[in-house]
């Protein structure tokens, strides 16, 4: 149990995907303009990360390891994650339209997100158990959502801030990201 908690906190805060590991930076700047959009993106990423971790753990342990072809992991993981997201999208579209509208364009967009692929690689390298993989994906996803939520709140306020003309928009967002990153580095060495 303690190990799972350590994995969760480690992935969510200490090795935060965006601010410490520098993964998933495009949604961090692309989708962080509105709080609503940022939250849907975060939840969609968390969801896909958990499913992808489960599927890739099974593939790693029951296909790649027995056949001794671990070096094939990148291409196989990409293939599996992409088809998984397709199936999930189809399923949600036909069964729950409200949820499909809430996810909107973000679900197909994160098919190729590096954060999703990144969490499966980390699970593999750290050799987590099945439960550990899912917990680490949940932690990574929630950490991602948290940072996106903080950033979108700040950026909504920045719209009205009296920043110099040349700094308006993305430039000031980059500076804010640096300060946010410094704050998250404070978690380093907690475990």
């Amino acid at each position: 149990m303690n190990e799972l908690i350590a994995i969760f906190i480690g992935m969510a805060l200490i090795n935060n995907f965006i601010l410490v590991r520098y993964l998933g930076l495009c949604p961090f700047f692309g989708v962080s303009k509105k709080v609503g959009n940022a939250l849907s993106m975060g939840i969609a990423v968390t969801f896909v990360m958990s499913i992808a971790s489960l599927a890739t753990w099974l593939i790693h342990h029951y296909i790649l390891l027995p056949f001794d072809i671990e070096y094939m992991y990148i291409i196989i993981y990409i293939l599996v994650i992409a088809s998984l997201v397709q199936i999930i999208e189809l399923f949600i579209k036909r069964t729950n339209l409200a949820l499909y509208n809430a996810f909107g364009i973000y679900l197909p967009l994160i098919t190729t997100n590096c954060a999703v692929l990144g969490v499966t690689f980390i699970n593999m390298v750290e050799n987590y158990s099945l439960l550990g993989s899912i917990v680490s994906a949940l932690g990574a996803g929630l950490g991602f959502t948290l940072v996106l939520f903080i950033m979108s709140n700040i950026r909504e306020r920045l719209e009205f801030a009296d920043s110099p003309k040349s700094m308006k928009g993305l430039p000031i967002a980059f500076l804010i990201a640096v300060l946010l990153g410094l704050a998250f580095f404070g978690f380093g060495g907690m475990i």
Binding site: I59, I63, F67, I69, M72, I75, I76, L79, V80, S83, Q86, I87, L90, F91, K93, R94, T95, L97, N101, G104, I105
Partner: protein, 280 residues
């Protein structure tokens, strides 16, 4: 051999899984039959010109409010009479496609003098930040092709290498308006598809910057086109000091184009022929 086999099997497995999920789950969902019907008519290229994130979102909006099509029409459907008819049937309204159909028009003649050497990022967005661009006329087309990049129709808008100006192929252009919002200098305007005379200057004396002036091919406000017109199709707007064209009265006699000394006017129906010449 083994890795190739495993990869092939996993790929096949994933494909089959998607196929079975596609067949097994309920095909028709309550409440979105109409959306699905509209979605099959829409082009499915997800260009975003209607202002919705993708064709499916547009179909949902149309199913909820059919009148939306008069405000933000799908320009690709407007070009195709067959799918337009199907869409009219699905929505239960009739549309006047020729009145709604639009074309992009670049209000610049090109050839404005270059006043400084620009060596930055090759986009109009960046170049326009520096003193409104590197042309003598602060309203001139920079010809770096932001509009070409954004155009969903391949080759409907392109850069004339001699004049360094964006040119619209009126046959290919479907009037989606993506280039209008993309142009950093606001040179592009959507005009009705039946427009006959194109006015190729956007110079405004409002912003009188020392050293920056109208090029030799811009409107000099001489009113010669107004006087030359025999069909009373040109009205002179006194406030802007620019001619305004009445497309219905115009008989395309081209007298105004002959009268125009700086060659600011052009035959909009002929622009596409010039386009073919440049392309060839």
């Amino acid at each position: 051999m083994l890795p190739v086999g495993v990869l092939t099997l996993i790929g096949l497995g994933c494909g089959l899984l998607i196929y079975f999920v596609f067949i097994k789950i309920p095909q028709k969902v309550k409440g979105i039959e109409k959306t699905e019907e509209i979605n099959t008519i829409l082009p499915g290229m997800n260009c975003g010109a209607c202002g919705h994130p993708g064709c499916f979102a547009y179909a949902q909006a149309l199913a909820a409010d059919p009148d939306l099509i008069t405000k933000t029409p799908c320009t690709v459907v407007l070009q195709d009479p067959e799918s337009l008819e199907r869409l009219e049937k699905a929505l239960g309204i009739t549309l006047d496609a020729s009145a709604m159909s639009k074309k992009a028009l670049v209000h610049c003649n090109g050839n404005s003098e270059t006043i400084y050497h620009y060596s930055g990022v090759e986009t109009c967005k960046a170049a326009a930040q520096l003193l409104s661009g590197y042309k003598k006329c602060p309203y001139a087309c920079l010809g770096l092709g932001d509009c070409v990049e954004v155009c969903p129709q391949q080759g409907a808008i392109f850069i004339d290498p001699e004049k360094n100006v964006a040119i619209v192929d009126t046959e290919k252009c479907n009037g989606c308006g993506l280039c209008v919002t993309e142009c950093s200098l606001n040179l592009i305007e959507l005009v009705p598809a039946g427009t006959k005379i194109a006015f190729l200057c956007n110079y405004k004396p409002l912003r009188n910057i020392p050293g920056r002036e109208r090029c030799d091919f811009g409107c000099i406000h001489c009113r010669k086109c107004f006087k030359a017109c025999e069909d009373e199709a040109i009205e002179w707007n006194k406030e802007t000091a620019l001619p305004e064209f009445d497309q219905e009265k115009c008989t395309l006699c081209l007298k105004c184009i002959e009268a125009c000394e700086p060659n600011t006017l052009a035959d909009f129906t002929k622009v596409k022929k010039e386009a073919e010449l440049v392309a060839a």
